[in-house]
């Protein structure tokens, strides 16, 4: 491709130099403006050029813009796929140029659970592409969203927020439900939403964080938003060393092994039923005395009296961390 400054040199004799910086050739009201280096630009009225020259110029600019836009799209895709580094400023600059609607965006990481084969991933890409396409969008028109594979079982999407926020997270849950029903593939998603494109750079990381934290600590949900992780954020964000030290403190030696599955279930049930004896006993189908006996047994084995809130939740955190080891 010819450098833009060269373009100004070639066309120099048809126009006049003026002051004013610009980044790309532009045609307005029958006048071409060509960047000429530094703070200068060349003003060339279309009528001042031979008609063939004007046509060639138009053709050249059109195809170079197209190439550049394809290039920019690729840049965003490789960033989204976790392959390229792109600065926050660059993202914010590039996206509007490839037709991004508005200033907000959402990154979604969709993970197919189980052993995702190549073929399945391809089908999932096709399906997600179709589901998230804009209703009015004709082929080749604007950019409703981008999607790219990342790793062996994850697909990342960059979407305008309205595509998934129509019914809070319902929109995305419906997408996952469709994936499950059509491809027989269970799927979960991590989501990070930003209000301004210039905050987008960390969104891939946040979506993956939400996915990983959610999978471990909010496993009953299928959509995990980075800004709604609750306690899962702390549990997952805990440095390994600190987690291990905490576990060594709360459940030293063989204490964990000494707690039977039945006792662990009792601990979770008791805490999840607001430390209410009657409710917990009913939920476990045991007599209240059996429950009281088990609570004493937990204290004996662990030293923690889970009838006391702080002690109870300390044990809850320790056992929840253990579940994910």
């Amino acid at each position: 491709m010819i450098e833009q400054v060269r373009l100004a040199e070639i066309l120099r004799s048809f126009g006049t130099m003026e002051e004013g910086a610009m980044t790309r050739p532009l045609c307005e009201d029958g006048v071409w403006w060509i960047p000429a280096g530094g703070r200068n630009r060349l003003r060339v009225p279309v009528a001042a050029m031979p008609p063939e020259m004007a046509q060639l110029l138009e053709l050249y600019v059109y195809s170079s813009v197209e190439q550049e836009s394809a290039h920019m799209r690729q840049e965003v895709l490789s960033w989204l796929g976790g392959e390229g580094e792109v600065s926050a400023e660059r993202l914010a600059q590039v996206l509007p140029q490839i037709g991004w609607p508005g200033d907000a965006a959402v990154v979604v990481a969709v993970e197919l659970r189980g052993d995702a084969e190549e073929e399945l991933l391809g089908d999932a890409m096709a399906l997600l592409g179709e589901l998230l396409a804009h209703e009015e969008q004709e082929e080749g028109e604007g950019q409703a969203g981008l999607l790219v594979r990342s790793g062996s079982s994850t697909i990342r999407l960059l979407l305008p927020p309205e595509r998934i926020e129509e019914e809070a997270d319902g929109g995305l849950r419906a997408v996952l439900g469709t994936l499950e029903a059509e491809l027989y593939a269970p799927a979960v998603a991590g989501v990070s939403a930003v209000k301004r494109l210039r905050d987008l750079a960390p969104a891939c990381y946040e979506a993956e964080f939400a996915l990983a934290a959610g999978r471990l600590y909010r496993s009953r949900e299928s959509v995990h938003r980075y800004d709604r992780l609750g306690i899962a954020r702390l549990l997952y964000g805990l440095p390994t060393e600190m987690r291990d030290d905490f576990l060594a403190e709360v459940l030293p030696g063989q204490v964990l092994e000494s707690l039977s599955a039945e006792l662990r279930e009792t601990i979770f049930a008791f805490l999840e039923h607001g430390q209410q004896v009657a409710d917990t006993a009913r939920s476990l189908y045991i007599h209240r005395n059996t429950l009281l006996y088990r609570l004493d047994r937990v204290t004996e084995l662990t030293g923690y009296d889970i009838r006391k809130p702080i002690q109870g939740w300390t044990l809850w955190v320790a056992l929840t961390l253990c579940r994910s080891l």
């Binding site: 029903a181 059509e182 027989y184 599955a261």
Partner: protein, 369 residues
């Protein structure tokens, strides 16, 4: 053959908690089976295990006499319809139904035949060229059903497919799905938390709670002979009334006594009550609101089985009224004719139809009858 059998099936998402416990069920070919129970009881988990979307921790699952624990979901010959589904916005309805088959490399001619057949069954042939945007909620739901039908599965698995629809549409679609079942002649396993939906749709109902089957039976069996207090209270609207009191023997007869209630129990039940060892003990008496009467004629028929209660609220609902009563601290609802003279803030005598009474153990809450 699309018989589905679950044998001692367990699900543990984590090593220490069983979400579904010892689930045993034999679903007949072409049966419409409904799993019903409160939120979190394990309905979806059970359905997803049958689908193969969740692993079975323990136990066996057979579909059409084939052990499928380790068979990939797509090879189980099932199709799923969920509450949450999305249509492909810029595909026509035809393409929406065809897309899944296209991905599975089904031939064009075969796809065409299946889509048109499904559209005919669902009565959406005239919509095939439209885009989803132009469809109503009920029509979209049909398209979602259509996507499952074109797979021609042996078993349909439906998880609350109607719960995103408004009440009126839901009632209409219930009937549609029931009709669909008749036409397709396949097995359907249907999950709902709505007992009315369960009662009106199922050949048989499985009532679940806390991961355990509470009772399996036809809607009539479950309504008339609930196994325990939970099933009795969950099935039926408004819910069955429960009164705590003592079972006392007097002059050879057995009475249920509580403050404000003196109910002579039918002789035919004495043997069962004695065998259960509850004579002289606390029991729970259950009676459905429609079996609590205020008509003088019924009061005359059952003079030994009456309750005296304070009327708190009378709710008029067209042809009938719900009367909310307080019986020395225990609450009781009666469903009476709208022409009833009962007035709020009065004290009334009501008769219980003793042939419709249930008695439960006070501690285990299991039914004696």
């Amino acid at each position: 053959m699309a018989r589905v059998q679950l044998k001692h099936v367990y699900k543990r998402y984590t090593a220490d908690v069983a979400t579904v416990k010892d689930f045993n069920l034999d679903i007949a070919d072409r049966e419409f089976l409904v799993l019903v129970g409160p939120s979190g009881c394990g309905k979806s988990t059970t359905l997803r295990m049958i689908a193969g979307l969740e692993e079975i921790t323990e136990g066996e699952l057979l579909i059409g006499d084939r052990l499928v624990n380790d068979v990939h979901p797509k090879d189980r010959d099932i199709a799923m319809v969920f509450q949450n589904y999305a249509l492909y916005p810029h595909m026509s309805i035809y393409e929406n139904m065809a897309f899944g088959l296209k991905l599975r490399k089904v031939s064009k001619a075969e796809i065409d035949k299946r889509v048109r057949d499904a559209a005919k069954i669902l009565d959406i042939e005239h919509l095939l060229d439209r885009k989803p945007k132009a469809l109503s909620g009920g029509q979209r739901q049909r398209v979602a059903l259509g996507r499952a039908i074109v797979r021609e599965p042996q078993v349909f698995l439906m998880d609350e497919p109607l719960s995103n629809l408004d009440a009126k549409l839901r009632v209409q679609m219930r009937a549609e799905i029931a009709k669909l079942h008749q036409r397709l002649q396949t097995t359907v396993i249907y999950v709902t938390h709505d007992q009315t939906e369960a009662m009106t749709m199922g050949d048989r109902i499985v009532v679940m709670k806390d991961g355990l089957i509470q009772q399996v039976g036809t809607p009539q069996e479950i309504y008339n002979h609930p196994n325990n207090v939970f099933v009795a209270s969950f099935i039926g609207s408004p819910s069955m009334n429960f009164l705590r009191g003592n079972l006392v023997e007097e002059g050879g007869a057995l009475f249920f006594r509580a403050e404000g209630a003196n109910v002579r129990l039918p002789e035919g039940r004495y043997a069962a009550l004695r065998e259960a060892g509850v004579v002289g003990k606390e029991v729970i008496l259950g009676i459905r609101p429609e079996n609590v009467h205020d008509e003088p004629m019924v009061l005359d028929t059952f003079p030994d089985s009456t309750v005296q209660a304070d009327v708190e609220v009378v709710e008029l609902l067209g042809a009938e009224s719900y009367v909310y009563l307080n019986l020395a601290g225990q609450s009781l609802v009666a469903r009476v004719a709208a022409r009833s003279e009962i007035k709020p803030l009065t004290k009334v005598s009501l008769a219980l139809d003793i042939n419709k009474i249930h008695v439960f153990h006070a501690d285990t809450e299991q039914a004696i009858f």
